[in-house]
Subunit: 256 residues, 2 copies
């Protein structure tokens, strides 16, 4: 299950479903925030691939939206997907009103100018920076760009159950960083056919990555260490959290 969903590029939705299961929340309720975070993630990819952003023509092994259709369609499809994310997060079947209001509010904060969009803006700025970013800057950039949505996804189950999200938050922070380091490793030594997108773009653009800053083997070791930190954060959940631990281990060993 973990491999199919995480490898199938639905990591965020999977985190929502598993976090919800840990708290005894039905899949019928959890599917709303799970679909919400996948919609917001999908919007970010469609806009990120635009010519004025990362200018990518391939995503998940298929032409990107602006290549298949046109730029206006990609802008509008991304805009509609973001709105859909909030429609799903606030959906009446997701739970009681205060949970739905909380899901919408926290999703907006995770996606917005102090979350994912900030990370994207820092990433774009890094391309024209005079000197490559350092480790602290790359870490801050990634905390926004990929970390914010992963954290929201992991915590959503606790929000649905009105439980303390702290253990899932600690798990998500380590997982998010491990995920990004693994992504940087894949960008260097991955197979573009398996990844379904262009690789080695960062190196060609002279952009700093965890691999360029740490070196390949230390980066691999750091990712493994973070996966262990992520697993340890779930100790309070006992054996019930094994799927989430498996997801953390999978994230650093994936080849696509």
């Amino acid at each position: 299950m973990a491999h199919a969903l995480v490898g199938g590029k639905a990591l965020r939705g999977y985190l929502v479903l598993e976090g919800a299961r840990l708290h005894g929340i039905s899949e019928a309720r959890a599917m709303w925030p799970a679909a919400a975070i996948e919609a917001v993630h999908a919007y970010s990819l469609v806009h990120d691939d635009l010519p004025c952003m990362d200018d990518d023509d391939l995503r998940r092994g298929r032409p990107t939206v602006h290549v298949r259709w046109d730029e206006a369609t990609a802008v509008l499809a991304g805009d509609a997907l973001q709105a859909l994310g909030f429609e799903l997060a606030a959906h009446p079947d997701a739970g009681p009103a205060h949970v739905r209001a909380d899901l919408a509010l926290t999703l907006a904060r995770a996606a917005g100018a102090r979350g994912m969009v900030l990370g994207q803006a820092l990433d774009i700025a890094a391309e024209s920076a005079e000197a490559p970013l350092g480790l602290a800057e790359i870490t801050a950039l990634q905390a926004g760009k990929t970390g914010a949505l992963i954290e929201w996804a992991a915590c959503a189950g606790a929000v649905l159950a009105q439980a303390d999200p702290a253990p899932l938050r600690a798990y998500a922070r380590a997982l998010g960083l491990a995920f990004q380091i693994a992504d940087d490793i894949l960008d260097v030594e991955g197979d573009a056919a398996k990844a379904g997108k262009r690789l080695q773009k960062d190196a060609r653009a002279g952009k700093a990555t965890f691999v360029s800053l740490l070196g390949l083997e230390p980066a691999r070791a750091r990712a493994a260490e973070l996966a262990e930190v992520a697993c340890a954060a779930l100790e309070c959940y006992g054996a019930g959290a094994e799927s989430l631990r498996e997801a953390a281990r999978f994230v650093i060993s994936r080849d696509s």
Copy 2:
């Protein structure tokens, strides 16, 4: 007050504040959805001005975001403004949880693929259509493009008060259409300096408008008729709704 806000391009926020006042809701609460709808409206303008969309270099008398900064910044600023809209709509100070959840949910529906984005997509498609659109198609296009947010704004006060939004909805539907017809008239005979944006774009692009379909004087008469319909819809509110009636009359007489 109406002239300053409506003329100052904050029609939607003004509708929220006035609709809330009619229902005895404090400005301290109403300012959250008022700011929310202005954020979503602003995002739509920033994206609409992009080169791949309407390609405008002037808005409110100043260079558009992609001209002043760059396209990536305009895409990201729009994305962040949309998220901000939902953050404000679901803000804890806007009211009880079910009101906030309802504001976020209805805003998402108004902004998304069956609301504003649909209107934008129909507008883009109209540019490359073989034949200009007819009256029914233009009306449907505008119901999404400008109508959906105006309707949400007018109804927000009733949502805040958990009252029946039907009279405000009827007001908004007539107002929204009157607003768009007035916009088409301004596009033909307005002063670009006062409007703060390029005019006569639709005619040059060969796009159908209410003016091209109805003729200038019949369009003016239709807008006046719709403003009266809007005013009449507020009868149940008595003299308290005079500001909203004034806004409807102002919308069809504005010169910018």
